[in-house]
């Protein structure tokens, strides 16, 4: 089952950290649109500077198709250690 992960302040704002993608959105942009439609606070946080997206643990820019085994992570600006 595909899943989506939120890190840092994104998970605080949304109130969840990990969620199974069921039904599966066809693309990253469709996933983002669905998340934004259900949570205005998360939508605003995802639009903040420095937010990056990793698909299967690799940073991606732009859109990409999702499969039933995809792992999508939304990463807010990294703080360093």
């Amino acid at each position: 089952m595909a899943k989506v992960l939120l890190f840092g302040r994104l998970s605080d704002i949304a109130g969840w950290r990990e969620r199974a993608l069921d039904p599966l959105p066809a693309t990253l942009s469709a996933l983002r649109a669905a998340l934004c439609a259900e949570d205005a606070g998360l939508a605003q946080a995802l639009a903040a500077p420095g937010v990056q997206v990793a698909l299967d643990q690799v940073l991606v820019r732009g859109d990409a198709p999702l499969t039933s085994r995809s792992e999508v992570a939304f990463l807010p600006a990294m703080s360093g250690g």
Binding site: L5, G8, A73, L75, A77, M78, S79, G80, G81
Partner: protein
């Protein structure tokens, strides 16, 4: 070797193990970072990582440091989860034939770790309020020191 651990670690023991059994290494530099109390304003520090991704990203920088400074070896241990002020939060060890490479590689890796490594850091104060921390302007300035070299 890159390790993330939720448990406290002993920097001295890590150094002893790292230094053992080396015939050609002439220099080892280490850095140990401790969690600060910030005059009592921070009671706990929580560091979140993305398991797998965080190690891989740090590993890319460790390989870069190996090539750039001609290191024999490098080790990075980083805490994740809840950290109490005074505890070690990060340990970096670099091994090289000569001291300059070891010092510089250690400095470079710490500048990277403090500014760009994939961690998300939250501080909780004595009144229970938590805030997410971002790198200081100085941290960003520190990493740019290495860009023209």
């Amino acid at each position: 070797m890159i390790t993330l651990t939720p448990d406290p670690f002993d920097p001295g023991a890590l150094l002893s193990a790292f230094a053992a059994g080396r015939a050609e290494t002439g220099a080892i530099a280490t850095f140990t970072g401790l969690a600060r109390a910030e005059q009592g304003q921070t009671t706990t520090l929580e560091l979140e990582a993305y398991p797998g991704f965080t190690e891989a990203q740090i590993g890319i920088m460790a390989e870069d440091a190996r090539d750039r400074f001609g290191l024999d070896d490098v080790q990075i241990v980083h805490r994740v989860g809840q950290i109490t002020p005074g505890e070690a939060i990060v340990f970096v060890a670099t091994a090289a034939a000569h001291r300059r490479s070891a010092f510089e590689a250690c400095d470079f890796l710490m500048d990277y770790l403090k500014s760009r490594a994939p961690f998300w850091k939250k501080e909780t104060g004595p009144d229970g309020t938590a805030r997410w921390i971002e790198p200081r302007p100085q941290d960003h300035a520190d990493i740019t020191r290495w860009e023209t070299k």
